[in-house]
Symmetry: C2
Subunit: 428 residues, 2 copies
């Protein structure tokens, strides 16, 4: 065991999470050595402008010069919290090649370049830890890679984006429209001024790509994940599906279907007593099904300065243990399989369809015939809110391949009695 | 890194969990080396009667002779699943002193002799892993010790006994009495024929003692945990508290109060939208509050052959990684603090009180005076189901020290208008 009194780290980035990590390390200064045997010293904080004052960060650790970090042999851990897939990738690869261990919260990077980064870490016998990259403060990476290492995970469903969960909660509980709910989320700091990455499901897709890679040991990237966001979810969808006993959530799904990895992010109707249905506001949650472990769910804060910092510091302390014992790269990520990815048109789902149709006898029969011709089975149908000769028709469709559903929708659209197919949303 | 193709383990016990572990190891035979680099071989299974046939377990690994295990240098991991605090303690201590690593699900033992076992493990540089001892398949030990290592945990509330959660769920949802619900639980295999350890809160108390020790780094044993079971929870308590917006659960609490460890298990009224309130049937869940991480909850199977086996195998595979890298004892349990335990009469709670009183004007005033004299504040009072001159009086009491509450109850009992105090249950 190394007798090092101090282990030195550098922080890349002093934004929300970086600042949180710096403050947390200061606060836990006395406790860290009691827990892992060495003191943790943040020797440098890399920022764009080192002359700018940053609340709570000692002036003399700030630097805008990466050379001071990469060339400092005393710095053994690089904590990357800049984000993005450009300079962050370069810095992380340089650090690993220099034998420095890396802790990161960068989901964008791992969802696109995970395989490259994990393999460079393995080659250099370095730790790469990234608990904070998926669902912030919720312990999920370590449980999946270690606690559940002896099980086959059959399915993971995640509410892994707090912004969209907040917006959908407001739409459901306060009967707001999408744009009003988004405005509230922006005012409260839950949504960015450009909310695209959240509301289009891109952020959630990145996290699901990382999860898929870990549990199926296959290279799954952001591009492999089918994505649908929440911008087309209408108050009527929420109201009507609620009457049928469902809640609409933006859900990421990873499962093994016919020997292929099924991975997608889309709005989904969940039965009201599904554990994920009770996850409200900006909370995140991940529901895991294992062959042996059965069902489990993990809920917590998916974002925020200190919650994310707590996950980062947990990783850093784990790396410190590994450094002391000379056992870095103890739990490598290795894609030892090459499982194909299921294409979106092969994915089978149940569906909720809301459509505007002509309000006269015989319309339902016409539509039912078209559905039947496309091998699409009806589990439930109801008619709502008729006015001015227009009726809202709601279907719950039996499990069917996406390709059939798309064809059926096209065929229905060509009927004169169908004014519009307002919504097509998957049902769990 | 060791190049060992195989790592050998011995299983002590071939009961529900032992049998499950054996089957799971067989099933995961090909996957284990891909995940941790070595094959896992269960070389011996220690049982009382080695001649008895056991489904799915190869006859030639069965032995009733501990010497064949403890004296076999090839066996590096001992998986203790016998349970109990007698022979299991001896075997574990012997194994650790022989330099063998131990994985156990034995909560009874760790809740009484944890400090001894953890210190012998440290002295011998051995792993002792026990994820399955608390809440079965739910990852909680590793998250608490590693993911949350950089945070101060301020409070943990756990539904950590599936039997009592099942019984309370039946009483709540199916309006059963305690004895009927217990009978159903016994028929379904969720309760033992002698249910004492579950229904009196002893099992839950063991788990909370282990959790308290881990998060506060202080020796906390079973004897330190104040315990109340569910046998005195009546259908009226469930019905009336439900009308007030609460659900009754058996909850284990660990928190830091005025610099002392507060740890107890008792029935508790939770608001219906508290995440733990939604945990139904035999599921377990643990709710964690951290200063940095904020709220998190972990839900899953707290018992059962394969769920528990999955947690055990996760630990075994973690030990295998440590053996390969020579870094066992990587995350030792160390009680580096000596924090006093809060005595039960110092514990502050809100309370729900249900009492039978004389049904006449002035009674409430008399009782209110007595409560006031004992410095007990009333948050809510309501009167129910009056019949034959007897009324049910329900109070929600403001937070008050247990000692005051006990005195107040004694004083109320001495009033002529009070026929009985039927229930006194804590409120979160």
């Amino acid at each position: 065991m190394s007798d090092k009194k101090c282990i030195y780290a550098a922080l890349l980035g002093a934004g929300t999470v970086g600042g949180g990590v710096y403050r947390l390390v200061k606060k836990m200064k006395k406790e860290i050595p009691l827990r892992v045997g060495s003191e943790l010293v943040i020797k440098k904080v890399l920022v764009k402008d080192a002359s700018k004052h940053r609340d709570g960060i000692d002036k003399d650790v700030l630097t805008d010069n990466w050379e001071e970090i990469i060339n400092d042999p005393e710095i053994q851990i690089v904590i990357e919290l800049m984000g993005g897939t450009g300079i962050a990738r370069t810095r992380i690869l340089e650090a690993l090649k220099a034998g420095k261990h890396v802790v990161t919260a960068n989901k964008d990077l791992l969802a696109e370049h995970g395989e490259e980064i994990f393999s460079v870490a393995r080659e250099n016998n370095c730790d790469i830890q990234f608990e904070a990259a998926v669902a912030g403060a919720i312990p999920i990476i370590r449980p999946l890679m270690q606690n559940m290492a002896g099980d086959n995970i059959t399915e993971i469903m995640g509410i892994v984006n707090g912004t969209t969960n907040y917006i959908l909660t407001k739409m459901t509980e306060d009967k707001m429209g999408y744009h009003d709910a988004l405005a509230v989320a922006q005012r409260k700091g839950y949504a960015e001024s450009d909310p695209t990455s959240d509301v289009d499901g891109l952020d959630a897709a990145r996290k699901m790509a990382i999860i898929a890679q870990l549990i199926y040991h296959t290279n799954v990237t952001f591009a492999d994940v089918y994505k649908e966001g929440i911008t087309s979810v209408m108050p009527d969808d929420i109201r009507y599906s609620g009457e049928l006993g469902y809640v609409i959530k933006l859900v990421g799904v990873v499962k093994m279907t016919d020997g292929k990895v099924e991975v997608h992010v889309n709005p989904m109707l969940l039965e009201k007593d599904h554990p994920l249905a009770t996850v409200r506001n900006s909370f995140n949650a991940i529901f895991v099904k294992g062959e042996a472990m059965d069902d489990a769910m993990f809920m917590g804060r998916g974002a925020g300065s200190l919650p994310t910092a707590s996950a980062v510091l947990g990783d850093v302390m784990d790396v410190m243990r590994n450094i002391r014992l000379g056992c870095c790269n103890r739990v490598p990520v290795e894609n030892y399989k090459e499982t194909p990815i299921l294409q979106i048109d092969e994915i089978k789902s149940k569906y909720f369809i809301r459509m505007k149709v002509e309000d006269r006898p015989g319309v339902l029969a016409e539509i039912a015939v078209v559905l039947g011709e496309n091998a699409v089975g009806i589990a439930n149908v109801s008619q709502k809110d008729t006015a001015d000769g227009v009726a809202d028709l709601l279907f719950i469709i039996e499990e069917v391949e996406e390709a059939h559903m798309v064809e059926a929708c096209e065929a229905m659209r060509s009927l004169d009695c169908v004014y519009s197919i307002a919504s097509v949303i998957r049902v769990y």
